[in-house]
Amino acid sequence: MKMNGQVIVIPELKNGNFASVIKMVNKNGGNAVLSSSPSSLKYADKVILAGVGSFDYAMKAINDEWIDPLNFAVFEQKIPILGICLGLHIMCKDSEEGELPGLGWIDAHVKRFKFNSEDNLKIPHMGWNTIEVIRNNPLLDRDVGEQRFYFAHSYYLECNDVEDIISVTDYGSSFASAIRRENIFGVQFHPEKSHRFGMSLINKFINFES
């Protein structure tokens, strides 16, 4: 039974602020389904992993019920999945923010920003920053002039495989702002808070066909 429009399942991990993501998905012709039940993945055309809080908090919530159904959806069914900010972090091997291991889908470690006082850079990295798209990919156009997104994070990805990186951003030094490995996508910034730039990305994700 296929519903009209793409069904985008958003796992309801506790404490999340999903309203903005849901709004943006629906505005782009998707059917956002916020679900606390992993069985909803059966109907998913795509999945978005979003949420706030801390790494361990999110991993605990995933480990409770979601981990097996998610692994099945992502690796057996090859359902496209997009991780946003913390959602991206939990896809990695581990994080300096927490003790628990991550999902390990991406060969990367999550590290905390560390700056010298002379750098005059504050943590968190908070506000609008530009991205540089370094690899062709379905979510972000290349060579279209400035693209900017809203960032709000104290931790970033250190990728072991550069092939995974699709865009980089400067804050102190260069870090991966967007990654992709086959059907797994992740963005460090918040497309749901990045008006037309975010709309374009979410639109492309919804319409992406593997």
Binding site: G16, N17, V52, S54, K122, M126, N129, S154, H195
Partner: protein, 254 residues
């Protein structure tokens, strides 16, 4: 490169958008949903919405209005006014608010910041601090809800809030609020020296140059009220926001 945010700061009283003058005489300006709709079209960097009645009147937060406001925004929305509990915070995040701003609750109990930061993440918890210069020009903490100054030394207060886990500081100048006669740049500079987290400065913006100057002296972002809401010397209501290139130009000669 990380841009300096320019943030329309809107005040709400009784469901209406208002503008104050030196934190007094709120004047009705219009329908908040309409203003936010316009700001959303103009793709503003971020929005701050403050309910200036909630704490004073010990009223519950107007969740339905905020939900309507959040429904209009595809950029970060920060809400402040009457937040005292984790349940209220959770409800605000659920309806689409990205960050919450606290003041009165923090005067009563600094720990509320750590409780909220632990649960929702530091970056979502902002401390709002209003500073009023006394007769000698000395800065003092002002409680907007209680309409009086607080004895506690302001530097310590800010430091404690940061240690407790506040993610950003929203600094407002009571003396300059609504005047459109310029910001208290000395105050911004002094505060920014001690603040290791992002600092949003508000109060008195009269021009785009003021915005640039505020960031020159240490603000990471600038909140703007009257300047984006009034036009001309008769303060006719007109919602404006500079376009992206005007803002880009401000900081290009770095």
């Amino acid at each position: 490169m990380l841009k300096h945010r320019v943030i329309p700061t809107l005040l709400i009283k009784n469901e209406g958008l208002v503008k104050t003058y030196k934190f007094a005489d709120p004047k009705y300006v219009g329908d908040p949903i309409n203003a936010i709709h316009i700001f959303n079209e103009k793709e503003v960097d971020e929005l701050i919405v403050l309910d200036i009645e909630a704490s004073k009147a010990n009223r519950e937060i107007n969740f339905s209005l905020i939900e309507k406001i959040a429904g209009e925004c595809f950029m970060p929305l920060c809400y402040g006014g009457g937040i005292r509990t984790l349940e209220q915070a959770q409800r605000l995040f659920t309806i689409g608010v990205e960050k919450i701003c606290l003041q009165t609750a923090v005067f009563d109990n600094l720990d509320i910041i750590s409780e909220l930061a632990e649960k929702f993440g530091s970056q979502a918890i902002l401390l709002s601090i209003d500073i009023k210069r006394n007769w000698y020009g000395k800065p003092e903490i002002y409680s907007a809800a209680r309409k009086k100054t607080i004895k506690e030394p302001w530097k310590e207060f800010i430091e404690n809030a940061i240690l407790a886990g506040a993610g950003e500081i929203v600094l407002n100048s009571v003396n300059n609020d609504g005047t459109m006669l310029g910001m208290d740049f000395e105050l911004i500079e002094e505060v920014s020296k001690d603040v290791s987290i992002p600092l949003i400065a508000i109060g008195g913006v009269s021009s785009l140059d003021d915005i640039k100057k505020a960031t020159d002296v240490g603000a990471d972002a600038v909140g703007v009220g009257a300047f984006f809401v009034f036009h001309g010397k008769h303060r006719a209501v007109l919602i404006t926001y500079p376009n992206y290139h005007e803002l880009e130009k401000l900081w290009i000669q770095e």
